[in-house]
Symmetry: C2
Subunit: 495 residues, 2 copies
Amino acid sequence: TQWLSHVSSVWPLPQIVIPSPERYQLKPQSFSFGYRRNLDTKHSCSVLDAAFKRYFSILFPGYTYANLITFSIGYPNQDSSERYKLSVFAGQASLNAETVWGSLRGLETFSQLVYQDDFGSYYVNKTEIEDYPQFNYRGILLDTSRHYLPVQAILKTLDAMAYSKFNVFHWHLVDDPSFPYQSQKFPDLSNKGAFHPVTHIYTQSDVRRVISYARMRGIRVLPEFDSPGHTKSWGKGQSELLTPCYRGDTPSGTFGPVNPTLPSTYQFMASLLKEVASVFPDPYIHLGGDEVDFSCWRSNPYIRAFMHKMGFGLDFSKLEAFYIEKIVNITSVLRKTSIVWQDVFDYHERRKFLSVVEVWKQGCYLCEVRRVVKAGLRVILASPWYLDQPGPTHNWARYYNVWPLAFKGTEKQKSLVIGGEVCLWGEYVDATNLSPRLWPRASAAAERLWSNERQTSCVERAFPRLQEFRCKLLRRGIQAEPLYVGHCKHEYQSG
Amino acid sequence: TQWLSHVSSVWPLPQIVIPSPERYQLKPQSFSFGYRRNLDTKHSCSVLDAAFKRYFSILFPGYTYANLITFSIGYPNQDSSERYKLSVFAGQASLNAETVWGSLRGLETFSQLVYQDDFGSYYVNKTEIEDYPQFNYRGILLDTSRHYLPVQAILKTLDAMAYSKFNVFHWHLVDDPSFPYQSQKFPDLSNKGAFHPVTHIYTQSDVRRVISYARMRGIRVLPEFDSPGHTKSWGKGQSELLTPCYRGDTPSGTFGPVNPTLPSTYQFMASLLKEVASVFPDPYIHLGGDEVDFSCWRSNPYIRAFMHKMGFGLDFSKLEAFYIEKIVNITSVLRKTSIVWQDVFDYHERRKFLSVVEVWKQGCYLCEVRRVVKAGLRVILASPWYLDQPGPTHNWARYYNVWPLAFKGTEKQKSLVIGGEVCLWGEYVDATNLSPRLWPRASAAAERLWSNERQTSCVERAFPRLQEFRCKLLRRGIQAEPLYVGHCKHEYQSG
């Protein structure tokens, strides 16, 4: 039954697998990928050709493959089909998919089916697989403000994401501690707000490189520009953006959230978001909106006067709603759909202007999911997948035993849960520990978001598969930490 | 006061530092190390020459230094002086030490004093330092049984140890899950007991490489062959070594601790330890002796008959004492001093045969330290430094605020506390996460074991120094995880 363990170790588990003990040997010298051209596709596809090359060297380390013609397609998006059929039969594997993104998922599955015997020969078993994701949004958040992550560390994460079939890189680019995004229009934001204006920034070319690298792996890049809170670093390069806090009648010298009372604020935000909308091709932008501290607004007499004028009374959440609505409107005009953290949904009465809400608070997160879908809005669930705090990896099942749809609701309401996200906040994480902290715990979430719930409800059955998958990650150079005592055929080789 | 922060950032803190704002520029092109030959040392010293080369490239990355003549000295040991005086004055640094091991510590300090300005020029300030360690034994335990660690990962750890002035690598080579040490006399131990008989073992040449690499950095290698418990993997390659467990009147097929009733056991152990004593030059051997489970011994009728014959009654700790005494005697005949885990001290009445006890249990560990020194034995303290479980790195002060001598006792008793040890057990640790889990938390312990307690009692003062030291570790390629939000001039570049 060793062959069965090879086949069933595909992670995340495909929806339908028909395995077989019949196996075929693969010879790197005579192995080739190919595809049948669609009627409307006269040229070969660069994404697939690059993927063939990549997967060839994953399949057969030490060998190379080159056979490229270039041709351009679009970007993956929220509605892209990732469905594929894979059939390995009589020495041939055929992969059918509606989109190139589906083909990428199928290639990943195929690469996990190939194994070596003790003499180094490659094999694959006769197998039929039909597969598609349970949720269309399967994200990982990296935070490049609390610590700067070198581009190389981001690219490495994109590699690992593709191995677990994640498809959204949620880039929490900026926050209080630093502003590493080098804006074309407002270079002072990073000149003054980054940890270092030259070495600790993402240039336009860095950003393009990340987006293109992600696209080649069927991964979307969702930028987040969180406001009005979490913006301390913005204030260094953009004067009058933040609210001056007061002690009694005089400014204290410290600053609070974005100042929502000044027209200049909205001019700046419109201009920045316009740039962001053009730099990042994804139709979604994350606007943040979490954890706004009202004490500074409350201390400022001009803000209080504005509140009075607007008839907000003492309810600062109305002021926040006023601000966020304007920002959402700016985003809509740019033809982008906005995502916000759940705080925005929680505090605001008029919810119709919202589209997608990301649930992140601990506690009864499914209660919150239910409230959001009952309001007719779409949901991304992050609460159970906060991985930034270190935890014993043998507790991985905590991230596996999550049931995003286990709330009372109609089918239509459940369909509003578009997916989930692993959040790796940056307080205690940088390039030194990102990989072992993320992997393989994030892979547990990946299977929950991709695979059929009923087929993946047993932790004991998943454990040996996840162990095997972790070994595959090591073999591919991903520094995924161990689940428990044991070994991999190929251990991680530190540099 | 930037110059002061450069000088005071030396980690662990030297005993006496007299800093100065006067600084000298260093030019890699014209910089050289040199040493005055002692009257009894006619040749140059290979350890120092190698260290000059190493520290030259640490000081000036990108430049190389070569000026080697070979000559052989001994190994560092428990009584080696590590004392040195470093004086930087008028463009010259002079380093005085009684031993080459002291010189290595002084070189490390010197390398931490050199800094670059924003234009890349190198500087060092006029400084006088007198330094010596608080404790002679400053160890790190790595466990290569629960996970196999590639030799490269061990060497990297030795590098990092030298940067924090650790001087003992406690090699917990073998345990229940695997036996990776390839014995000359008993090759079946690793042939059958390792995770893999070829890829997951330490050959004699691997072991020699580790010992030699450690010696070049002034680090001792203390081998541990833990018995009679923690030996499941030994049984695979050495039949009749382990106790067959019984269910009722018949063997159950499982095995317990080493069988202490058979003469063959002691012949085997004497032979194995003789080999170990000759392979590892250190005058100490760690014999383990922890966590012996008596249930299997109790189930076995032959063991019970032996107990009866020896008059041990039902007290199996007497049987364990019987075993350990024999093993300690074997070790003494080999002219090696034995170290045991505290269990041996706790359970046994006749303690005079013991030499060094390692305290590892949680709870009131200083109570245990006191009991051991009152019995006239030497102590190594490990309890507060169990780093294998992940913990938020910002809790590093937990490992810093440890006071090994804060118990009631005479000066003579306190002098029996020879040092401390950081233990990185292997259940959840392998080469993928070893470095970020160990560093910089182990460096907190390093300062406690090296520096003056009174000068290093303030966590707030230590914090910026430790942050700066962590950045130096990154610069030297050590994957030390962040303490909190922030950045280093040179971030870790993943491969």
